[in-house]
Symmetry: C2
Subunit: 346 residues, 2 copies
DNA sequence: ATGAAAGCGCTAACAG
DNA sequence: CTGTTAGCGCTTTCAT
């Protein structure tokens, strides 16, 4: 019932009539010509026939590599991350690697512990999407281990790319600018921003983009306030929106993400304001439910799957090219116009 | 900059003045008395001081165990899963195990491939939340590998507990029954169910619970139709709701989950029907956004984190007690009453 | 109760 | 180009 024991490299070598060492070389994709084509073929054929798959323990013990990539996200419940993880997962698996995913819950100590745990497990690289702006643990990791890819940390002008770490981000700057232009085109002159918590670099990027776009559009910055939500969550978005409307009367709001936008919806309803008739709202993410809200949410779509895939490619690339210069990739965003934006009331 | 190499058991043994074999025994939690208390103390102390953590490759090669648990979910984007994964992750990690999470995308072939991949990686156990009703790959896995926990597969009367597999589920039956009773208490007599796809066991359970509760409440089953959504997603919920209202005029709908409920909201709006004034709606899950919908969604809350934690406990338990009888755990659900339910129009 | 020794499966270094 | 050898770190016999 347990079936045959798994074939080892010895079995393959015996079947191919060569020595185990030779079989190992023949199966190594990086065998430039270190083995006769004929031998390679025989070994390959035997391996296929026996269904040989190298044992990860044996190989790991010998090479020190686990084929495991640690992936840190702040919060699986945030709808940006699942598609990113899918992109990571599939890309890694296609290369014979697996992702070990951990949620940091946005806590620095947890992140540090998790990084340590994964490092001890022998993770060959890390993809870090838990996006604090400053982070000694990450800096140390980059300095020591090497293969680290930062997701959505890239464009933070206050920090810049970590020394030696690759990074991937969406072009939030362009996305937020497009959102502002869309609103200005509709006739809005007073546009507020409900940002996420400022210690996340994502927040900094979006906020800076907002402020720049407002200036570029020739709006008066005093008419375009920014309030900060404590987390990227509907509850906090609602609280921040309440503070916003207590002090100002913007005709449009750009939310830090879709969850915060949902919080804004709730606060508008509470105040008897209608969206988009009284106040337009734009989110960021294009989460699955965005088109099903009432009204359907206009939002900046982020290429989540592609971000994940790119992050995986970068980390794999860095594993093989240890000391290549840091690479940054910025993926395009797209404004999805739905029903939550309209001309301001007159 | 790379720091000292990691201490091995030899280093610990040397520091404690014993043989490596002895050190290994001293550190083994299952050492009933196979080592002198004094020796154990010395070794433990040395290990702590050096920061010794056993190498997973060496141990794995020797013992054949990876301390990795494969976790299969159908779709990370479904908001039930993130909290379940958190529960799994934390419980496993506390026991020195890690979860390797994979999305099956609800495709049987993908599930089979992923199970194979994880098995070859030496996963010590599996938690399977990709909830097809019948599944040869899972059955085979249970037969061969042993440590398998099924999530949300338990109460399916058509299949029953897989031979030898432990299982965890929420008490959807009680939850759906409570939802029906809540509606009946408000005066509804015509209650429809928009179920998920019937090949998932979760669907079967909820549908059967609905039908039973309808009978128990003394309603006429002909007034309580069931229509099936193709996936647990808003789009499909909307389509199914359209079919429902083309053929029937229920005053209340119990949706297969919250996403489907959101789809029902959309279809009601399209028809100019108001919720809850014209039609009441109840979901299942209590996803994070449920309270922020308009109207706030009445829904059956599921103890997601606890489900994950229980699944992890069961799989760990089975790893140590290979041939214990299959265990099933059912966790309580709770009806969260919000604004989407009211008395029917008269 | 501890020491000694062997070996899990693999690949890198060296010899031929 | 291929065979040989050694050893990664650990646990588990076996012997003492």
């Amino acid at each position: 019932m347990t079936g045959m024991p798994r074939p080892t490299i010895r079995d393959v070598a015996r079947a191919a009539g060569v020595h185990p060492g030779t079989a190992s070389r023949a199966l190594d994709p990086a065998r430039d010509g270190r083995v006769t084509p004929e031998t390679a073929r025989r070994v390959r054929e035997a391996a296929d026939r026996l269904g040989y798959v190298p044992d990860q323990f044996g190989r790991g013990l010998r090479t020190g590599r686990s084929q495991l990539i640690g992936v840190l996200v702040p919060d699986l419940g945030n709808p940006v991350f699942p598609p990113i993880l899918r992109g990571i997962e599939e890309t890694l698996r296609a290369a014979g690697y697996e992702a070990v995913i951990a949620s940091t819950d946005d806590r620095v100590d947890r992140e540090r512990d998790l990084l340590e745990t994964l490092r001890l497990r022998g993770a060959d690289g890390f993809i870090i999407a838990s996006s604090r702006r400053e982070d000694p643990a990450v800096a140390a990791l980059v300095a020591s281990t090497g293969a680290v890819v930062l997701v959505n940390r890239l464009v933070d002008p206050a920090v810049g790319t970590e020394r030696g770490a690759d990074s991937v981000a969406s072009d939030d700057d362009a996305g937020v600018a497009a959102a502002v232009r869309h609103l200005v085109g509709l006739g809005h002159r007073t546009i507020a921003h409900v940002s996420g918590p400022e210690e996340l670099s994502m927040t900094t990027v979006r906020r800076a983009a907002f402020e720049r776009a407002v200036r570029d559009a020739g709006l008066d910055p005093r008419d375009c306030p920014v309030v900060e939500a404590g987390r990227y969550a509907a509850e906090e978005g609602e609280r921040a929106a309440a503070r916003l409307f207590d002090a100002h009367a913007p005709t449009a709001v750009i939310a830090g993400n879709d969850m915060i936008a949902v919080g804004c919806y709730a606060e508008l309803r509470r105040r008897g304001l209608r969206c988009p008739d009284d106040v337009s709202v734009i989110g960021v993410n294009d989460m699955p439910l965005a088109g099903f809200l009432d009204p359907p949410l206009t939002t900046v779509a982020i290429p989540q799957y592609d971000i994940g895939a790119a992050a995986a490619e970068l980390v794999l690339g860095r594993i093989t090219h240890r000391d290549r210069a840091p690479v940054s990739r910025i993926l395009p965003t797209r404004l999805v116009v739905r029903g939550s934006t309209a001309a301001p009331p007159r």
